[in-house]
């Protein structure tokens, strides 16, 4: 019998992190929610086999692979999303949140793969080899994609303007 309680505990413990990664990847709350549901559903189907191994790594891989599949199916250029929804806050916090949102807007202008690599490297804190394994690409591709993505962020109008403020 499947360990439903164990899976529920796992999903609850990791749900926020997964949802945050999905929002960073997709730039859209609705798609992020769908992506997380899909990743957890696929993990649930294999829960008995993976729960004693490394289910966090498994569901992360499913999340990023499912996103890549979704993106390839669309066959169209991605458009930068608007700033993620946020509530206004007073004082220094407002400035901090504005800075964060500018960076996220710049992030949304990257390709899906560039975003995925940056999220895995700098949000999930994976090394290059682990990032390559999660995405099913070569380590060299991780390095070049990361370098290219950071280069784009450095010259992003969103961030250049913020530096000039």
């Amino acid at each position: 019998m499947r360990d439903d309680e164990g899976f529920a505990a796992f999903a609850t413990a990791n749900g926020r992190r997964l949802r945050h990664a999905a929002r960073l990847l997709t730039g859209d709350d609705g798609r992020a929610e769908d992506l997380v549901q899909t990743a957890l559903a696929r993990t649930y189907l294999r829960w008995d086999r993976i729960r004693s191994d490394d289910p966090v790594a498994y569901v992360r891989r499913v999340l990023f692979t499912a996103h890549a599949d979704w993106w390839r199916r669309r066959w169209r250029l991605e458009h930068p999303t608007e700033t993620m929804p946020d509530t206004a806050a007073p004082g220094d916090l407002a400035a901090e949140l504005a800075e964060r949102d500018r960076l996220r807007t710049a992030l949304a202008a990257l390709s899906a793969r560039e975003r995925a690599v940056l999220v895995l490297r700098y949000y999930e804190d994976l090394g290059e080899r682990e990032t390559a394994a999660a995405l099913g690409i070569a380590v060299g591709t991780v390095k070049s994609t990361c370098s290219r993505a950071l280069g784009k962020l450095r010259i992003s109008p969103e961030l250049v303007e913020s530096e000039e403020r």
Partner: protein, 336 residues
């Protein structure tokens, strides 16, 4: 920059917590039912032979053996329809797993889920091993030793396949896990052989799992098997269908659609009864959809290509038949 980026990415103050676990389970149920889709083909009024709508429920496949089969006197190998389960508590083998010099064998690969790369689908790739290949693999396996201590290997990329060795009236079926520690098992005993360079030298170019090729630039390159006596083998247990347009994958990227036994046999019968055509008399339109169909039998596979646009034919490179309705119905499977 990177610390800035790290801080900005990690700021999840506006990310809601909580997961609807019931919704996840419901979605998992839908995924399980729909993954290996049976052909649901609507009856076409213009077609003399109608194929009924079939619910998304797989035909019962031949039961997979829960343990590998070793049958004295059984000389003809046949792939199990699903990969044997990993042994629960394998013991290191103290004697050879194969134990004879095979005269041939089969390598049986299973359909991989594109999202997770787990190959836990039904049989989808069958390769006949030559005597030399079978002997070389058997020699490596029999020379290999079992794990020294408890195994701590990950099989996150679970792409197991089956090897069958036949000869001198004997048949041995082994489960191979190419990742992790490279375990080869007979169901109760295990050796670490699948990462041995001599082992890899034999299997490196053989299909150890089944999936839609990433591109189909020139359909003529897929015709690697002998054409045989019929367009599709009579003992087909399943059709694996992949769709392409101008060489690129169709709508559902690289997700194979599967037609199971009863419906597959109907396609085989109707295609084999369809009128032959001269392929050279028809020019395929640029941009017209193309389907790659792999007919899977327990002892081999055969690939045919269907042109869905102008020609509406199915061909194995040697013979072509025309059946617009059936070719289109297979293409429509790839669009779901």
């Amino acid at each position: 920059m990177t610390e800035h980026l790290r801080a900005a990415l990690s700021d999840d103050r506006d990310t809601p917590a909580g997961v609807d676990v019931e919704a996840v389970r419901t979605r998992a149920g839908r995924l399980r039912r729909g993954r290996w889709a049976v052909a649901g083909v609507a009856a076409l009024t213009a077609v003399a032979i109608a194929v009924p709508v079939v619910l998304l429920r797989p035909d019962p496949a031949p039961p997979a053996p829960s343990a590998p089969v070793t049958a004295a006197g059984q000389a003809a190998p046949a792939c199990p329809d699903t990969a044997p389960a990993a042994p629960a508590a394998p013991a290191p083998a103290t004697g050879p797993l194969v134990g004879f010099a095979p005269t041939g064998g089969l390598l049986c690969g299973y359909l991989a889920d594109q999202t997770t790369t787990m190959a836990d689908g039904p049989l989808g790739a069958v390769t006949r091993l030559t005597a030399a290949q079978a002997r070389a693999l058997a020699a490596v396996i029999d020379a290999a030793s079992g794990p020294d201590g408890e195994l701590g290997c990950t099989d996150e990329l679970a792409l197991p396949y089956t090897l069958q060795f036949a000869g001198a009236g004997r048949l041995v079926t082994l489960r191979v896990q190419p990742y992790g520690c490279g375990e080869v098992s007979d169901g109760s005993r295990v050796v670490l052989a699948a990462k041995d360079p001599a082992f890899l030298a034999v299997v490196k170019d053989l299909p150890t799992y089944a999936a839609c090729p990433p591109r189909l630039n020139d359909p003529r390159t897929v015709f690697t098997e002998p054409a045989g006596d019929a367009l599709l083998p009579a003992d087909t247990v399943r059709l694996v269908v992949c769709g392409y347009v101008d060489g690129a994958p169709a709508e559902e990227v690289r997700t194979a659609r599967v037609v199971e036994t009863r419906e597959a046999r109907r396609y085989v019968t109707e295609f084999d009864a369809s009128p032959s055509v001269d392929d050279l008399a028809c020019t395929a339109e640029r941009g017209s959809p193309v389907i790659l169909v792999t007919a899977v039998t327990p002892t081999g596979t055969k690939r045919v290509v269907g042109e869905v646009g102008n020609c509406r034919t199915l061909s194995d490179g040697t013979r072509s038949v025309r059946n617009e309705a059936l070719v289109r119905s297979l293409w429509e499977l790839t669009q779901r």
